[in-house]
């Protein structure tokens, strides 16, 4: 086989269409996505308080969305976003202080964040819906 015909086996650049993102990249993306979701959620929280200051009928309208299926799903997603952003934010603060940069540590803290956020969300749902 001539040099020109040899199959090309150069390393590929991490282009998004051909590159499987590692866990740490997904966590980074998720941190920003949940941050954006929580920004909207903060406005929703402020709106909730303003509705509570209004009359009972107006508040009941607002509450009826929260207790609907769609409302429950949105609030559940908001709660997961809150717990994930909280846990991963603490992870970021440790990095800012100079700890946990080893790849092994970054993966361990990453999985911890996912597990803790999921558990906190599920426990909140169970207690919140008075299932126990």
């Amino acid at each position: 086989m001539s040099v020109a015909n040899r199959p090309v086996n150069r390393p590929l650049s991490p282009h998004l269409q051909v590159y499987r993102l590692p866990l740490l990249a997904w966590l980074s993306i998720l941190h920003r996505a949940t941050g954006i979701a929580l920004s909207v959620g903060a406005l929703y929280l402020a709106t909730w308080v303003m509705y509570a200051a209004a009359n009972p009928r107006t508040y009941a309208m607002f509450e009826s969305f929260n207790t609907s299926i769609v409302g429950r799903i949105v609030l559940g997603g908001w709660l997961f976003s809150l717990f994930f952003h909280l846990c991963n934010g603490i992870r970021h603060l440790f990095w800012d202080a100079g700890y946990g940069f080893e790849l092994k540590d970054a993966y361990r803290s990453g999985w911890t964040v996912i597990v803790v956020a999921l558990i906190a969300t599920v426990v909140s749902w169970i207690v919140g819906l008075r299932l126990v």
Partner: protein
Amino acid sequence: MDRRTPLARARGLGSAKEGVGHWWAQRLTAIALIPLVVWFAISLVMLSGADYATVRAWIGSPLVMILLSLIIAVGLHHAQLGMQVVWEDYTEGGTRVVMIVLTKFIAVLFGLGAIVAILRIGLGA
């Protein structure tokens, strides 16, 4: 190598100028939000399914008035700092300026609205 003109440098458009203040504010609000968010998440779960009167009694108690005002003010400040970075990353030019200004205006508007609402509930106005 610094390729900026002396004028650009003098105007402070570069690293380690205003960006440090933004970075610190984001960390400081993040630290403040850790206990606030834990408190709020637990409170919300406990309040789940509560009626109008119960919610108002909760919001109107002195400690909750303080903590709820804090989490809304600090949370919205943290949110607008983060959203500013998002706009800076994905938009440019006029769109970027408009979106950042809009984000900050909305944050202040909703923050003040919520705090007035808390005071009205708590003080019975």
